[in-house]
Subunit: 437 residues, 2 copies
Amino acid sequence: MFLSKLFIPISKDLPAEAKIKSHQLMLRTGMIKQSSAGIYSWLPLGFKVMKKIEQIVREEQNAIGAQEMLMPTIQSSEIWKESGRYDDYGEEMLRIKDRQGREMLYGPTNEELITDVFRASVKSYKSLPQLLYHIQWKFRDEIRPRFGVMRCKEFYMKDAYSFDLSDEEANKSYNKMFFSYLKTFNRLGLKAIPMAADTGPIGGDLSHEFVIIAETGESKIYADKNIIDIDLNQYELNDGSLSKMREDISKIYAVTDEKYKKTDFDNHVKKENQMITKGIEVGHIFYFSDKYSKPMNCLIDDKDGKKTSVKMGSYGIGVSRLVGAIIEANYTKDIMKWPKSISPFDVVIIPSISKNNKENLEKAEKVYKKLKKQNIDVLLDDVDENMSNKFKKHDLIGVPYQIIIGSKSDGDNFEFKELNSQSEILNLDKIQLKLKS
Amino acid sequence: MFLSKLFIPISKDLPAEAKIKSHQLMLRTGMIKQSSAGIYSWLPLGFKVMKKIEQIVREEQNAIGAQEMLMPTIQSSEIWKESGRYDDYGEEMLRIKDRQGREMLYGPTNEELITDVFRASVKSYKSLPQLLYHIQWKFRDEIRPRFGVMRCKEFYMKDAYSFDLSDEEANKSYNKMFFSYLKTFNRLGLKAIPMAADTGPIGGDLSHEFVIIAETGESKIYADKNIIDIDLNQYELNDGSLSKMREDISKIYAVTDEKYKKTDFDNHVKKENQMITKGIEVGHIFYFSDKYSKPMNCLIDDKDGKKTSVKMGSYGIGVSRLVGAIIEANYTKDIMKWPKSISPFDVVIIPSISKNNKENLEKAEKVYKKLKKQNIDVLLDDVDENMSNKFKKHDLIGVPYQIIIGSKSDGDNFEFKELNSQSEILNLDKIQLKLKS
């Protein structure tokens, strides 16, 4: 893609309404545009990053055998009346009357709807366990939407649901999701800490939040530093190994505000390992057993032919929020560097262009074509602008690798730079190897 | 995927509410489940097909240089008041009041919102032409939703928008999209006929519908038979060739009901080539110049520094509707056969299983593993059911190729069948070649 053709409305001003750095960066680099309070359009740069995150989330859900499906955004109030949550949910639920006066709503969460799908489809224990997920837009009518995509009204989420015959079986599903979440966040270049958490309006008695450390986070964290260095490679996708993983992790203290007790913290964690900080919630998982299946009559025949309420859990990852969270975690000292796995482009070519000399631009186009042939996703900055401005701009766009074509490039050797590092002179073959590694 | 694990609630009954064959098939094979009138969940089988269609649509949009982005589902009424359509639109628009009493709506179409994005982003002719598109859920509060996903309330659409400096330039964008549409429908295995059409509530004076022939269609078609056999390979992606394409096609008579005149039809089309039939609209493109940009003040500096309203067109493909339309076009004589490009699986293995003999199932699992290694997406029917029932079921699920493991299979030779054809005995290498061709 040539930068001059990319639909990327870059702004030089610091947007006044943006209080945190991810929100500022996303507006300045034209990743998003607000359409009304708490509601955004995703322009090509932001869209590309979000889609890459979505794809990693999807792959790691598929890897544990979860099946993708899709529920609609608009739901009938009927099922919410069945579960008893319609009146409880409050004003964050966007309530709608259709042209025939029926009470509808924009789904803020999907426990009721998936329970309705499941009870119409599955009757026997033989079809269990089941893991279903979808990635869909949700809406919460926040009274004070803020922080850009971090706390907005219309947001994109992955929601998975597990269905099992017993608490014991359900625990295995919970562990699989736990494992999938840690793998997902690793691939996104994030250190996400699993913490025992309150269940809140979803209900149930087992719950974990996955939190990344960031000063701008809204969650307070109390944890043993050792939890940051869990080595996932020691575990495998089978019930025994995953049960061991849960056990190992549960020994390391890590809780959110609501679960925090000073005496526990001091008893379990050495002073020098105590970490008190703020974080951003990027995932939340719940086990709530028959909280929805019982009132909604979602019954399964067990091995003895007896009907029993199916045992359910739910598992969320905020896909659109992750874009902001990843920026919060990676944007430091005025330089944003995207993790390789989700960068909007693999590399950017920055030629020094002057009015009377297009030689560098021509060289750049040749390199561009060669890299494209290797399936490398290249951005070429063909804009007629001085190099200092270009570098400032690309410090914000955040493509992690740059090929700079100016005075230092010579024949087949080019200045190659990884953001936050020194540049080096390399030939194109070596550059390709670096980009593909 | 093993069929016993797939979340596919198959029903043996013909659903009473379904009047057309695509709706019947989608309910019977568990592709969708209605959640409320005109609103559906997409279960894994239906979801997979829809995603494959989406991906083909996306690739063909990218191929003409269109850039993907995403607009939200919930819009503010303000921009609709600017364009003048807020009052005009009628009851099909789902109108919403948020908790602060602001008038919002679920987007039935996006001309206003994209114009708002564009006017905030682009100021100069130098950034033109631009083609932007998104694939998003839309809502129309149909008074009588019917025919399943063909005329439902919440539906999935690709919408593209073109931005140009002049009518002449805009015509080039229109032609590119025209070409992209024909290529898209070809890849989906559809014969889509481009027809001069009315512009309706979108406005403008140039418009084409893309219609596939189907008895259950709601559009009446009058066309010269020759239009079915347009050879796209004779055209290339450049303005000259595409202008020639439009010219060639415009010479062949093909119009919808509103544009039909008997005298024109008889004058232009020989009796033996006259085709009067019904069809399903799967795409619709419009050129409406400054209909939205003018009232919404979306101005561009032209080459002389003079401000001028940008010239726009819009281009829709009904992605969720296409699932139904493709079934209508391919489901005949009680057999559904998905086009290879969008089939939910590449091949299904059907072993004959009896209670006391699992030998065929074991053979099937070996074949399954081998094909999976070749990146072939295989469904294995491991359900304990008689072969006659299995075949009936797979006639509906519609995977185009079957490997039947029963009495005719011998060593490395298996019965291989393409739906609607005779089976043959082939070894696995030959089967792989057929599947990959």
